[in-house]
């Protein structure tokens, strides 16, 4: 009825076709790629989840965080400690527990970080992130500090009366792919929900949102918590991939890297952070095999992209394809 014609959604079938085609290609890729390529792609999926989680804050709420690696570290350490110190191997339990720890940290940290906005939010997330990193780095007996914790094994699932090990790179790829699609779907639901629409309103004009009757702090707080939950999931998956974790996963470099993914990919487009994660990981992995100055090249790429594509790669593409520029 009216709602169907409201936003001109007649082209939906093309979207469905593109989505199915993309999923089919990604399912087939392990057959053609080398093991190195599969590992790289798995890493890109994990970082995509991480950057999409940050984009809830950066793109939708308009709050730029420089401490998002905290959640990556929280998730990673929660999983590693559960596996090594508590000896729990049950995959579902470990993931659920990780998410809960991530949420708990989100609820706690949000009370501090969500009291300010703008540049102060950037600084306070940087500060809390550094505090977390310092604790992890110096508490060697618990976290292993710089040496880290190793010996975490790839997950083994017991479901439908079968044992499903995800020990080799190909099976692990499919496991992470499922998580990637799931997170993509859930985050898409969030940003299209009444809650997500309200986040856009807050980014645009918080005073008006309050005057309309929105308890805006609650929205910002829960947005932060959701970003934290998805961020810690990404951290946990990364630990499964590396079978190792150390303090650098919660470092400022990591926070900067994920923010870079969001900015280069395009924060105002839903798939922007995924594209950013792809580009950055490709640069980091492929360029670094040719030259040790790869981070210099990354820096130059960042400067060029901010100069010429301030709205990110995805933002640029969308603007060229759809001159209206209404992406959300």
């Amino acid at each position: 009825m009216i709602t169907l014609s409201l936003r001109g959604e007649g082209k939906k079938y093309i979207h469905y076709f593109l989505i199915i085609a993309a999923i089919a290609i990604l399912l087939c890729l392990p057959k053609v790629l080398s093991i190195y390529g599969v590992t790289l792609l798995t890493e890109i999926f994990i970082y995509s989840i991480f950057s999409m989680s940050l984009n809830l804050l950066v793109g939708y709420l308009g709050y730029t965080s420089l401490g998002h690696a905290t959640f990556f570290g929280v998730g990673g350490y929660a999983l590693a400690l559960l596996a090594l110190k508590a000896g729990i191997q049950n995959f579902f339990f470990c993931i659920a527990a990780t998410l809960m720890v991530g949420a708990a940290f989100g609820f706690l940290l949000g009370l501090i970080t969500m009291t300010v906005s703008g540049i102060y939010f950037l600084v306070i997330t940087l500060a809390t992130g550094q505090v977390f990193w310092a604790v992890v780095w110096s508490w060697r007996s618990f976290t292993g500090g710089d040496d880290g914790l190793s010996g975490i094994s790839r997950p083994i699932l017991f479901a439908f009366g079968h044992r499903w090990p995800f020990s080799n790179e190909i099976t692990f790829y499919y496991l992470i792919f499922i998580f990637f699609i799931l997170c993509l779907f859930l985050i898409y639901l969030i940003v299209k929900s009444p809650f997500g629409c309200a986040l856009l309103g807050i980014r645009n004009n918080e005073m008006r949102m309050r005057a309309l009757g929105y308890h805006t702090w609650r929205y910002k707080y829960f947005c932060y918590v959701m970003a934290g939950i998805f961020g810690s999931l990404a951290g946990a998956l990364k630990v499964y991939q590396d079978c190792f974790i150390n303090a650098s996963c919660a470092s400022i470099t990591q926070s900067g890297l994920v923010l870079l993914m969001v900015v280069i990919g395009g924060s105002r487009v839903f798939l922007g952070p995924v594209i950013g994660a792809f580009v950055i990981q490709i640069i980091a992995n492929i360029v670094s095999s040719y030259t040790e100055y790869w981070s210099t090249i990354m820096g130059v790429a960042l400067i060029l992209s901010v100069m010429f594509f301030p709205e990110g790669i995805a933002g640029y593409v969308v603007r060229k394809v759809k001159p209206k520029g209404n992406n959300h």
Partner: protein
């Protein structure tokens, strides 16, 4: 029934006493205009009733409920809505998204996280009704910043009306508009249902006299006089401080 009651309200900014011991009560369904020279505290009074900032002293009651210490977003639950003098909408969102956000604000599902907004048909039906009525339906997919100034003012008014308020605070709805646009907007305001109590701050005397059923004149933060439009235009002190001339009809434009 009294919709808005304000008792001995005070608000100062630094050394300036913007609102000084103001008391007024507005009947439900009334169209109350608040006028006065620049700096008389009109907008401050409206902001205090809307809850944009807390008052220093005094009480504010809405339909008999004390809301003095409630933040702005909680006053919406009592039926208070407002518009701003400087257009305050979501310029980077489409016209439709603006209206949807305004309607959604009082819905029980406004905090729903894992269901798309588009499944809530009632939102869209109501948005369509508003946009048709206000002649913006064809432009629903345009960003608000792409609209003309007059159209942006209309969006501002729709945002105030969208939550079905019982009390609507209008802060200079026609500010910056041409005379013809002002008259058009004034007609739309006059047509609003009598179930809405209007508190309107306005400089344009044509608009004030075409809308208001009662007028309060503020002067240096205090109530100077209160009465029907006829009484106000006849009142000699008002002419002196505000209308600024001795025009027996009182219908000409003031400062």
């Amino acid at each position: 029934m009294i919709a808005v009651e304000v008792n001995n309200l005070c608000k100062g900014f630094g050394g300036v006493q913007a609102v000084n011991n103001v008391s007024l009560s507005v009947e439900a369904g009334e169209r109350r205009a608040i006028i006065g020279p620049n700096g008389a505290g009109k907008t401050t009074l409206l902001n205090l009733i809307g809850g944009l900032y807390p008052s220093d002293e005094g009480r504010i009651l809405v339909f008999g409920h004390e809301v003095t210490h409630f933040p702005d977003y909680r006053r919406t639950a009592f039926g208070v809505a407002r518009t701003f003098q400087l257009t305050s909408v979501f310029f980077e969102l489409s016209v439709l998204d603006n209206v949807l956000l305004a309607i959604q604000a009082i819905k029980p599902y406004r905090f729903r996280m894992f269901r798309p907004q588009r499944v809530y048909r009632d939102l869209f039906e109501k948005a369509e009704m508003f946009l048709n009525k206000w002649d913006l339906w064809e432009k629903r997919n345009m960003l608000v910043r792409e609209l003309s100034y007059g159209e942006q003012r209309k969006v501002e008014l729709i945002m105030g009306l969208a939550s079905d308020p019982k009390i609507l605070l209008l802060d200079e709805p026609t500010s910056g508009l041409s005379a013809a646009e002002s008259a058009y907007l004034a007609d739309l305001i006059v047509e609003m249902g009598k179930d809405i109590t209007l508190l309107i701050v306005e400089h344009d005397m044509d608009v004030v006299f075409s809308i208001a059923s009662k007028i309060t004149v503020l002067y240096y933060g205090s109530v100077l006089v209160e009465g029907t439009p006829q009484e106000i235009s006849d009142h000699s002190k008002t002419k002196e401080v505000y209308l600024g001339f001795k025009d027996p009809s009182g219908n000409a434009k003031g400062g």
